[in-house]
């Protein structure tokens, strides 16, 4: 047996750091399916999970992997899966099931270039909108994006905590570059790691309403085999969990599902500012692109452009209020990402024409060179 928290200093990849983060968070079930560049998460956790008392299973496809994860979470354990684009596409329907049934779970997407099989071994950030809207229907979801192996370790813990607190799937959108990057990762002592478990019901079992929200909008969660005789369905349902096929029922359920995120934005959203205090130009970025943007900010400053970086740690829900505030005092926004404009559109929406917004993007396969960012800033600096 090993300790769940592998305290110490390690030189590991982002993928391995992610698996260790899951173990440190208390993950006890992993349903996987191999796919480049997420395979190393699955491999590492497959060997380590039984050592901490958990269970690993490699399912027959990604649909089954997420279905098994949701089933295990309904039995009361913290559970996770990891994949990349094609597998992520297969998971979409069951993401909706987890949203609708309010089942905590963590899904990692180590992004590669798409569409279709794309560039399997080369990274991109092309699934950001899919993470937001990929399952059908209108919903709220939490999506994080780490910029280093150290951060992926911590974000995996945060992802579990948020998914348990708010009873929804939390997605970690990393990328091939971070997933395969080996770096120093420091894992603290177990007692320094804060882990949270879902709210649990108290009181009379026969009167329990499994979807009646508590004070923060989240219902306590009864698990299978506890004697609450709960019914859980992906159909629109009322607070008892019973199907309710009415317009009012749909409206009520949807306000519960979206409300628990919308009413807790301050608790959920996290961003990081770099040289932003006196900046005229804001670079908005996340994941590996935020990391290469740091060098771009420093270089631009050297060249007399007052640039700063707003790094999105939480990508969804989108830090709308922050962008709006910044829009009132800066001269322009540049979104740096490895796609052809996804988060850029969101920035544009929030800036609402107050100042110009630009995309610095490419469709994936390699990182965004900082030089290209600086060049674009210089070329556009006159306009802004």
């Amino acid at each position: 047996m090993r300790q769940a928290v592998l305290t110490g200093e390690h030189f590991i990849t982002g993928d391995v750091a992610c698996a260790e983060g899951a173990l440190a968070a208390g993950c006890l079930f992993f349903g996987g399916y191999p796919i480049t560049p997420a395979t190393e998460i699955t491999e590492h956790i497959s060997s380590q999970l039984p050592e901490v008392g958990g269970t690993f299973i490699q399912m027959e496809d990604e649909i089954a992997a997420l279905a098994a994860v949701i089933g295990s979470s309904c039995a009361g354990v913290k559970a996770m899966t990891a994949t990349s684009g094609p597998g992520f596409s297969l998971m979409m329907e069951n993401i909706g099931l987890a949203i609708c049934t309010e089942t905590p779970c963590v899904i990692v997407n180590v992004q590669r270039s798409g569409p279709s099989t794309g560039l399997p071994t080369q990274g991109a950030q092309g699934d950001m909108m899919q993470a937001r809207w990929g399952s059908h229907g209108h919903y709220e979801i939490i999506v994080l994006s780490p910029s280093s192996p150290q951060e992926i370790f911590y974000q995996t813990i945060t992802a579990f905590n948020l998914s348990e607190i708010y009873r929804l799937p939390v997605i970690i959108m990393t990328d091939e570059m971070i997933g395969h990057l080996s770096e120093r990762v420091i894992i603290p002592k177990a007692r320094a790691i804060k882990t949270v478990s879902r709210p649990r019901p108290k009181g009379r079992k026969d009167r329990f309403k499994p979807f009646k929200p508590g004070p923060n909008g989240v219902a306590p969660m009864a698990i299978a085999g506890e004697g609450y005789n709960i019914h859980v369905t992906g159909l629109t349902h009322d607070e008892r969990g019973y199907p309710d096929m009415t317009v009012e029922g749909q409206d009520e359920m949807m306000s519960r599902l979206t409300g628990k995120v919308r009413q807790n934005l301050d608790d959920i959203i996290s961003t990081e500012a770099y040289r932003l205090d006196d900046a005229d130009i804001v670079i908005v970025s996340y994941g590996v692109s935020a990391r290469t943007s740091l060098a771009a900010v420093d270089e631009a400053r050297k060249q007399g452009i007052k640039a700063g970086l707003l790094r999105l740690i939480t990508v969804w829900p989108f830090p709308e209020a922050q962008i709006r505030r910044l829009a009132k005092r800066v001269k322009g926004f540049f979104t740096v990402e490895l796609n052809l404009g996804q988060i850029h559109l969101e920035v544009q929406r929030c800036v609402a024409g107050i100042v110009p917004t630009f995309l610095i993007g490419h469709p994936g396969g390699t990182i965004m060179p900082p030089e290209r960012v600086v060049e674009t800033l210089r070329a556009r600096a006159k306009i802004t």
């Binding site: 047996m1 006890l28 079930f29 349903g31 039984p50 269970t55 299973i57 399912m59 027959e60 496809d61 649909i63 089954a64 992997a65 279905a67 098994a68 994860v69 949701i70 089933g71 295990s72 979470s73 309904c74 039995a75 009361g76 354990v77 559970a79 329907e93 069951n94 909706g96 099931l97 049934t101 009864a222 299978a224 085999g225 506890e226 004697g227 609450y228 005789n229 709960i230 019914h231 859980v232 369905t233 992906g234 159909l235 019973y242 199907p243």
Partner: protein, 284 residues
């Protein structure tokens, strides 16, 4: 009169969400009979019902989970089995019954079925086979016999259906049986046996869908029951190769497989957690 009615209690009421009745099943549908056999078996088996879960996919039969007063999960189309697999692995103490239809378990969910059987996950899978997609109005299924008319095979089905017990057997199921809703007693006994069995158990229940399948092929619910009575033969232990469904020749019912094999969890524990049983031995 009302008062008297109120006092009448069905013997299965304590296992039903009576506040959800009336159910959605059509008059003459066989699902209700299969469902009540399942509930009777749950009761008579003596298993701890607090630790018993029913999981369904999507479809007419898939609504079963919504009516049983146990922890019950109505999942996505075709995914009841992988959902159940995750739940069983997370808490091996749970008794899990997957109650779903042929379209759900064998067309969209077919891949999951064969893998769960191969792994010998300790689940009881009850499949109500009514040979078509009832809920969506009667389309062709992976079980629809050759020549049968459905809304998507208006001149007759040109494909060959699955022999479900053969598929279950070939995939590694440790318990395989087939009954019809007319054989409610045998069916109940069989489900009970399957519930008590460790390993992947599969029971196919032939059942009429008079509203969609029957109407288009000019067979009433009663005609179907007559077929079940006159054209079925009980032959236990027959090789599953012989179990193709052909009502002209006669359809074989019975228990075909009942074997002991280590479950997924037995083997996983043995290989990945070898320390635990050794510690226990030392303690003794």
């Amino acid at each position: 009169m009302n008062q008297v009615n109120k006092q009448i209690k069905h013997p299965l009421d304590d296992l039903l969400r009576t506040d959800r009745i009336p159910h959605i099943w059509c008059p003459g549908c066989g699902i209700g009979t299969a469902f009540s056999s399942c509930l009777t078996a749950l009761k008579s088996s003596g298993i701890d019902l607090k630790k018993t879960v029913m999981i369904s996919g999507i479809g007419c039969t898939g609504r079963g989970a919504g009516y049983v007063k146990l922890d019950s999960y109505h999942t996505t189309h075709g995914r009841a089995i992988p959902f159940a697999t995750g739940m069983k692995l997370a808490n091996p103490e749970l008794n899990i019954v997957v109650f779903s239809g042929d379209g759900d378990l064998f067309a969209i969910g077919g891949n999951h079925f064969i893998h769960a059987a191969r792994r010998n996950v300790d689940l009881t899978v009850v499949c109500v086979n009514n040979f078509n997609y009832g809920m969506t109005g009667g389309q062709v299924a992976a079980t629809t016999p050759y020549g049968i008319k459905t809304t998507t095979t208006t001149k007759g089905n040109s494909e060959t259906p699955f022999n479900l017990p053969l598929l279950a057997y070939a995939s590694g199921a440790t318990y395989v049986a087939r009954w019809t809703i007319l054989h409610a007693r045998d069916l109940t006994e069989s489900i009970e046996e399957a519930l008590l069995k460790r390993g992947f158990s599969f029971i196919e229940v032939l059942s009429p869908c008079p509203v969609n399948y029957g109407r288009r092929n000019k067979v009433s619910a009663l005609d179907t029951l007559k077929l079940y009575q006159e054209k079925t033969i009980i032959k236990n232990r027959v090789h599953p190769m012989e179990l193709d469904i052909d009502f002209e020749r006669g359809v074989i019912l019975g228990k075909f497989v009942d074997e002991e094999k280590p479950t997924f969890m037995d083997r996983y524990d043995k290989i990945y957690r070898p320390m635990e049983p050794m510690e226990e031995e030392q303690a003794l």
